[in-house]
Symmetry: C2
Subunit: 187 residues, 2 copies
DNA sequence: ACCTGAACACCGTTCAAGT
DNA sequence: ACCTGAACACCGTTCAAGT
């Protein structure tokens, strides 16, 4: 490894957690992927819970940066909304993985509280970003941007979940098109 | 137990799986809840995979029966669509539990194939039922009923997932209202 | 500074044994 | 017919020890 082990652990853990969840993430498989022993992970992270928090935090930060980059790349809010599902789509193209926050939303009952906080923050970032675009694009009455934003976030999450359960990327695209046809998303 | 152990195991396993998933379901806790020992479960189910299939199958059947009952109870397809989210809502009111099929959709990679088949069947039943109501209610052009039906199913699943992650039942209701305001669901 | 092997109480599972 | 205790290879975790 040219990069340090801590980064390699974070990256590998994120990939595993997006495929098998927090519960499905185990230190022996993770260590194998990084090329060290399970006990060595404890040198970098004091517990599975702390590793989970670090993975979720990094995930949220990377996602926030990607959303900001998209907003900067195109100032057109309608284009931003049209491209918003791409992030969720790319998780599916990456071996049918899913959004870490969605998987962990399902695992809510078995999650340490600090991880839950990160998951909520992820949703907050997405809803706030969507609300800004919805407001700029004027696709709903004033005061309804927040409501439409969380509806879009929830709906896209559900589309990804359904597509994943069938390992069917085309289904994700179809559902997004259905949302557009129904008027939830602009066309 | 006045009912037999097999039924008690199925019922308890369903409740646990809706809260912690298939991976979070473990034989010692399950046996404790039923009042037997972990090894005794194997008298009724040959493996965790077979128990999981039985739970998922029963869940799908119960849901199909509930949807049929709703359709019979009221012949009005608009009323049916208005009440469709109730099933998902009641899972949340039951200790913030979620749809078994949604949880298992997330767990897809770690699921035995027979369970995956049940999960797909659950979605098929829901989409078919929704498509019938959408067609009857004439809320979309002919030929678009299936598309709208899967959009509704995916969207409601996503709303439940988001509400669960915040343990916020009111959020579920708000998102459903948002879907109605956006035109995805009839008002 | 970073890693390891061996040990611990937990999982699914098996099996011989109980009633 | 239905249940059990003890055992197995797996988990997260600890810790003393290595380089």
């Amino acid at each position: 490894m040219s990069t340090n082990s801590k980064e390699a652990i974070l990256t590998a853990a994120r990939g595993i957690a997006q495929a098998r969840g927090y519960g499905g993430l185990n230190f022996r498989d993770l260590a194998d992927e990084v090329g060290i022993k399970a006990a060595s992970i404890y040198y970098h992270f004091p517990s599975k819970a702390e590793l989970g928090v670090a993975v979720a935090k990094r995930y949220r930060e990377d996602n926030a940066a990607a959303l900001e980059a998209l907003a900067v790349e195109t100032g057109d809010p309608a284009v931003c909304l049209k491209r918003y599902p791409e992030t969720f789509r790319s998780a599916l193209t990456n071996d049918n993985r899913m959004c870490l926050a969605s998987f962990m939303a399902a695992e809510h009952d078995d999650l340490p509280e600090p991880i839950r906080i990160e998951i909520r923050a992820f949703a907050d970032v997405n809803v706030a970003w969507l609300a800004d675009r919805v407001t700029e694009a004027k696709i709903v009455d004033a005061g309804q941007s927040q409501a439409r934003a969380r509806a879009i976030f929830a709906a896209i999450s559900g589309a990804q979940l359904m597509a994943r359960s069938r390992d069917d990327l085309a289904l994700f695209d179809h559902i997004v098109a259905d949302y557009q046809a129904a008027g939830l998303l602009p066309i």
